[in-house]
């Protein structure tokens, strides 16, 4: 542990005592008495319910939208289509220079996933809003969908998202996020074994107990206040301002109480249209996902498919690692171009390998757009990498812990993406873990460290 103390010498004293004890939450008493106020616990006179008319198809052209019957229903205050949205096409991460804008607030001429929002209705009650949704007529012409990331990249696959022109996100002119370090082919040629495996995961829904939603209240001074359970207040504020084409200071976001997020509430989806609806009707507006919407249309963790090919020596050294990784973004970018970059940068895991090649693809398919979830871009990759490590250990008959120790990065080691390792603590963490798990670690690994040359 000496090495670790040195790293943090100027950052902390060693008398910290929070780990391993329960500390009472500052919001705990509010939670146990029911007094904590979630966004939906507010009531305003005249509050309207917003509900979406959603696509029943995975991929279809919109031929005609007829809202006249819904508009005539008593209790229906307003019906919104894409034509009502000042700047309809956006992408959340444009705030950090991700382009192009690729997603409509309300669908224009085409739907790209089942459940995509096409028309918003605003009514005096939830029951009326539901009936009004049923009264909107939309004619579609179905298009062939594509659901599989590798199918989507084949020539002749249906084009999912025209704003990209291809079924992939373009990274600085390349069809994937690439990492190139050394020469993997040379590594494979020199290796005693080549281990090649395929790993895949399904989308995972966060399923928070509180569904996604917000309430927007028009203020007397012309400003709009939004009570939201978003995990990303400032992304929401700026994107909503751009979508409404209104100065940011007109919009006010109040959040902080989230009934389960896990990354599932970072997308900017319910607030812009609720802001717009409140602005146009001059009435408070509530837009809450039903449980069905939460499961069907809120972003899940992306499904991933990962191919790992490793060149391994008899003594356990990994001399080459080649990765082909596909992130299923669904129909729109949201946070996936960033998640895919993270996935690429995370490779080849916390190991020093002299030859590395990574192709990480952010792929569009006719599925629910995926987005953030606890460690997205890294979690599934780590699963694949560590299962691969166990497979290698079994193949060459080596203790899996020793295999990881041998290949673990140390301070000063070059990483595949060009940075130099510093502040590593992997060896020490594994030593502690081995102790706690009573794992019989070979004595020579007990004296090693993550320090330079350790």
């Amino acid at each position: 542990m000496e090495h670790i103390r040195k790293i943090f010498a100027d950052e902390r004293s060693d008398d910290h005592n929070a780990v391993g004890v329960s500390i009472e939450r500052s919001d705990g008493l509010g939670h146990v008495t029911g007094k904590t106020q979630f966004y939906a616990d507010r009531h305003y006179p005249g509050m309207l319910t917003l509900k979406m008319v959603r696509s029943p198809h995975h991929h279809a052209k919109i031929l005609n939208v007829d809202t006249s019957a819904a508009e005539k229903m008593p209790g229906v205050v307003r019906v919104l289509t894409h034509a009502d949205v000042p700047s309809n096409i956006y992408t959340i991460l444009r705030l950090i220079q991700v382009e192009p804008n690729d997603e409509p607030v309300l669908a224009v001429d085409k739907v790209r996933f089942k459940g995509e929002a096409v028309v918003a209705v605003l009514a005096e009650s939830e029951a009326i809003a539901r009936d009004a949704v049923d009264a909107v007529r939309i004619d579609y012409e179905e298009l062939p969908p594509v659901f599989d990331v590798e199918e989507a990249l084949k020539p002749g696959a249906p084009l999912v998202n025209e704003y990209h022109g291809n079924n992939y996100f373009t990274y600085e002119g390349h069809h994937c996020r690439r990492v190139r370090y050394g020469d993997v082919e040379k590594g494979f040629a020199a290796a005693d074994h080549v281990v090649e495996e395929r790993y895949s995961s399904a989308p995972i829904e966060h399923a928070p107990v509180e569904t996604t939603g917000c309430i927007v209240v028009p203020e007397a001074n012309g400003r709009l206040t939004c009570y939201s359970n978003t995990q990303a207040l400032f992304f929401t504020l700026d994107n909503a301002g751009l979508i409404l084409n209104t100065p940011f200071q007109r919009l006010r976001l109040i959040g902080g109480t989230v009934g389960g997020g896990f990354g599932g509430k970072v997308d900017v989806i319910t607030e812009p249209v609720a802001f717009l609806a409140a602005d146009l009707t001059k009435r408070p507006v509530k837009f809450s996902y039903s449980r069905e919407e939460e499961m069907q249309v809120s972003s899940p963790r992306a499904a991933e498919r990962i191919y790992i090919k490793d060149g391994v020596m008899n003594d356990g050294r990994i001399v080459a690692r080649q990765i082909r990784l596909y992130v299923d973004a669904g129909a729109y970018s949201r946070h996936s171009p960033y998640g895919t970059t993270k996935a690429a940068a995370h490779m080849p895991g916390p190991y020093t390998i002299p030859n590395v090649q990574v192709d990480a693809h952010c792929v569009y398919a006719n599925r629910t757009p995926s987005s953030a979830m606890r460690g997205f871009g890294v979690t599934i990759g780590d699963f694949a990498l560590e299962v691969q490590m166990d497979k290698i250990a079994r193949l060459i008959g080596m203790d899996p812990m020793a295999l990881r120790m041998l290949n673990a990065y140390r301070d000063g080691d070059a990483k595949a993406h060009g940075e130099t390792t510093k502040g590593a603590a992997l060896v020490e963490v594994m030593q502690e873990a081995a102790k706690l798990a009573d794992w019989p670690l070979d004595g020579k690994y007990l004296s090693e460290s993550s320090g330079k040359g350790g």
Partner: protein
Amino acid sequence: MARVPVVFTVNGTEAAEFVEPGAMLSDVLRDKLDLTGTRVGCSQGTCGACTVMIDGELILSCLTPAQRVNGKSVVTIEGVATNGELDPIQQAFATGFATQCGFCTSGMIVAAKALLDANPDPSRDEVVDAISGNICRCTGYEPIINAILSAAAERRVAKSA
């Protein structure tokens, strides 16, 4: 549709409201009586967040028409503390980290109260069974079970004192 009168007791106080026929108890509690501690996570009887007691029995208020509580006595999370004194269950949840986001907590505590009112000394399995209709997505089940067991012990001590 003509609204209908509903008269019932909630947390010891009489409530009288005109409700739409078919209005759910959860909506009446939250929207008319401002008892928003009863949370709604699904409106379809699957999550347990809306759990309250009617005449001592646990029910899901999102599936219970308000008219059904006419003449009955309802206890919500707001009625678990007495005269501002937290119930040992509430205290144990707060100190034992049995609540994270808090959205399932009201339903969990009401379910725990129904259990301990009927069975002051439950086994761990009985506690698990009692909260099996309540989903916590912040994965706090272990601390929740431990909190209920320690609250049971606390309540027994308080009673014998």
